[in-house]
Amino acid sequence: MRHAFERWFAAWGQFAYRRAWLVILCVLAVTGALATQVPNLEIDTSTEGFLREDDPIRVAYQEFRRQYGRDDMILLAIETPRVFDLGFLEKLRALHQEIESGVPKLQEVTSLVNVRETRGEGDELLVRELLADWPQTPEQLATLEARALANPLYRDNLLSEDGHVTTIVIETDAYSSLGEVSDASGDFAHAESVTPRPFITGDENGEIVSALSAIVERHQGPDFQIFVAGGPTMVDHLSRAVARDMQRFTGLALLAIAVLLFALFRRVAAVILPLVVVILSLITTLALMGMLGTPISLPTQILPSFLLAVGVGDSVHVLAIFYQRLRAGDDKQQAISGALAHSGLAITVTSLTTAGGLFSFLTAKIAPVADLGVFGPVGVMMALVFTIVLLPSLIAVFPMRAPREARSTRPAFTQRILVRVGEFSARHAVSVLLVWTGITALSVFGALQVRFAHDPMSWFPEDDPFRVANEFVNERLNGTMFLEVVVDTGQENGLHDPELLRRLDEMRRFALGFQKGDVFVGKTVSPADVLKEIHQALNENRREFYAIPDDRELVAQEFLLFESAGSDDLEKLVDSRFSQGRMTLKFPFLDAIQYGPYLDVLEAHFRELLGDRAQPRFTGLLVMAGRTIDAVIYSMASSYVTSFVVIAPLMILMIGSIRLGLLSMLPNLVPVIVTLGLMGWLGMPLDAFTLLIGSIALGLAVDDTTHFLHGFRAHFELSGDAVAAVRETLATTGQAMLFTSLVLSSGFFVYMFASMDNLFNFGLLSGFTILVACVTEIFLTPALLTLFARPARALGASHAEVSR
């Protein structure tokens, strides 16, 4: 069977060499056609983008947004010595008006300039804008200030408690307007139709944020310091970082690969040809993503540079043999067909195991991680196919210098070190094994302390303007994270029930008084608050009437009054049948893992308070973030297990022995455990990024094992001497193993140049894992093989089996 593969690869090598231009043209035509799809790639960094589209929590959230609109607002917080100052208010009005006229896709802009005030004055009820009569005198300003500061609906929303910070709250469209027909002529036919639109796109969000930033820039001043915070700006900020970083990673990865390739082969062809192969395979993969509408996301932004680093390994193994053969006197055609015959199967198996590691992400609940599970394997297999298909033809047409003599002593020096380490490991197998057991034990202990996290704010450097703005708002206005609780009575006018409204008010009281760790509720808004406001206004503004009325009919009439008095604020708080109401709770922005225990208590308490009067449904960004944590944990567990379940059988199949196959997994599991241990000891969290390391590293690390066992088995069969076999193996393939490990780890280390800290961690840790895997391959695998490999019986027999 093995020989059949070898014959096939050799024959293909001959063909591709003879018909080089035909092959090249075909490949270029296909890639060129696909490349037109690359510009369709979009970037999605939204909070909900972390969850799969069919995730029930995400579905519920979308449902909520359809009813109540986008819940993540852009918040401009403006700090000034005194808000109720004529000069300041005029500046605020100018900014407000410019935003209204200059920012696209606005749903609503709210600030002190246009906020509604419901107030009783004598027998008069006023429902109007707070600043409907623009103040002229200091006395008027003072009265306004007193009223505004006393209004519970403004506090921590439009006005900080100390009166130094005011905000402009910008609600943008929840839906995309792409492809929408503007209806200037007034076509009534479709005034009847109802077509649900897709949610707003990243590009549209970007337009909003750009337009806003330009306006903010113009209004920024010493006594008018504007901080821009809120979900939409974070999403845009992340998208820009992704776009910028991805280019940077790709460039750096290409550079690192080029340098390493040249260091290894000292030939121009050996730099250019592998790069052409991996770049073309990368374009194909990205084109497929574009075609299938899978966006680039925070985790998948690693894909381009990752695929370059992984894919180049295939070419390296083929070229290594190719140059060996050239030096041995083969011509180019013989050399390439021989190299393919020799390495074709090996690189196919290593590609399969790498793809298998990535494939395990398919089971993830984090949507972009699941995307990696599709396009990771696709990219890896593309690199394999392009290497086999294109590399021989490229070699045929690329002018090459005559082969040089075997190289100087320098490479042999690294080779000698490798051999010596391997020999040491083989000779002192038991001691080596004990050392590794110790390291692993320490790591397991560390790994047990690893905490899970999903804290987007911590991804930004501390001095990042966006992070600064968010922390400012977080502190001065009691939070920037929102929980939405939909209280559903299931019956029309259910919200007219005074008892239910009192319970809502009780929920508010409980939430405001409950703190757990760093988690607390900074502010709440519900229909009960609006009702209390009307009730008070109808009763000459007396404090004691800031309460829920006792009478069901009065509740109904007060709500009717509110609707009829020209305010549409209720739209955001109740559905039109008054069967469900929305309570919004504001939290400080924290690591999402902290919210879980708090929400459990809150939900239990809310359920108890509501009894069978209504069902509370928890949703909003906070629940989405919390769900992301669960998804991270689940995704990690499932991908670890799946990658093992996929890769171990591949190894068993390749080695032909269950015992050795499983044994060969050990040196590849140890690096993952060591990294997890390191994370535990250093306090680095497992999040949507670092969870990737385990399966990726496992899939890559077994490549070295594959090559090692490939060589070891051949030598061991001949001599029956494990130590000698280790020596021989490392002398021949050791350098290639070291080299591919260096390429891969530098491919990961480039993420340390990211603008965001989460990717820095990912790059550092995954690069580290690959290096550890290289060490275990040289220092642990020999010991294991010496102790457990049984010459004639196990290995010999299994080899015969595979060869058959």
Partner: protein
């Protein structure tokens, strides 16, 4: 701001002398002239009617309100009083409105909540707010002052077999935009009876648009009355909300004196 203005302007029953409207028109009228004709129609006086209001949200679920409404003209001003008949829990809730022709004078409005047994004067900032929770605004329910707009005849057209004018109206001062919330409207006016049968309005807020469609037009006591109107609020191609307004038992020239439009009457109920 008068709910009783329902019978007027572009929302309420648009009225005209049936006889006066059939003149063959030799010269094309200007937009302004057309709107003057609409404005000049007799919309009747001392009117009593019932109103059924269907509020339909974006999920298609419907709430129904029933209202009884009295209206009379006092010089150029309009007075109206209305009471809710249904749903039961808001029954007898009443609104009394004096709508002044002088645009510098704020309208007077009182409301009575039976459960509170109190009458309150209401002051609201503008007319762009919703009328009784519907898609109609107070501005839709009252006449617009022609001088606040620049009109332009867009074209003549056919609608359901009737000849119509399409007239564009753009407010010529920012105060009017503030008050009504509209930045532009297009009216469709029947040439045979000067009734406005359709209107599209652009809202300043949130890129929304409102579509008025008169679905039923009846002649009552010689006066044209739009007895069923649909108002749809849309954003782009998505319907946000819709109101169906049906007028029943429309009667003109009913006996009604000053006391009918008084706070006492409001508190007494219909």
């Amino acid at each position: 701001m008068t709910p009783s203005g329902c019978v007027r302007a572009f929302v309420a029953a648009a009225l005209a002398f049936a006889a006066a409207s059939n003149d063959a028109l030799a010269d094309p009228l200007t937009g302004r002239q057309i709107m003057e004709r609409v404005d000049a129609r007799d919309d009747g006086d001392r009117q009593l009617n019932d109103m059924e209001m269907l509020l339909i949200d974006k999920n298609g679920s419907t709430r129904t309100r029933r209202i009884r409404n009295w209206r009379r003209d006092v010089g150029e001003d309009t007075q109206s009083i209305l009471f809710f008949l249904a749903p039961a829990d808001v029954k007898d809730t009443g609104f009394l409105t004096y709508d002044y022709d002088d645009s510098n004078k704020d309208d007077d409005q009182w409301l009575y909540l039976p459960a509170l047994k109190k009458t309150k004067r209401i002051a609201t900032g503008d007319k762009s707010g919703s009328f009784m929770g519907s898609d109609f605004s107070y501005a839709d329910m009252t006449e617009r002052n022609l001088d606040n707009y620049d009109y332009r005849l867009i074209k003549e057209d056919l609608l359901d077999g009737a000849k119509v004018w399409q007239v564009e109206a753009i407010p010529n001062n920012p105060k009017e935009i503030d008050e009504t919330g509209y930045t532009k409207s297009i009216f469709v006016v029947r040439q045979d009876n000067d009734v406005m049968v359709r209107a599209v309005s652009w809202l300043r807020r949130g890129g929304r648009m409102k579509y008025l469609d008169v679905k039923r037009l009846e002649q009552i006591d010689g006066i044209w009355v739009s007895t069923e109107m649909h108002m749809t609020t849309r954003k782009g191609d998505t319907t946000l909300h819709k109101t169906v307004l049906r007028f029943e038992n429309v009667r003109f020239n009913q006996p009604m004196d000053d006391s009918r439009f008084s706070v006492r009457q409001l508190e007494k109920g219909q």
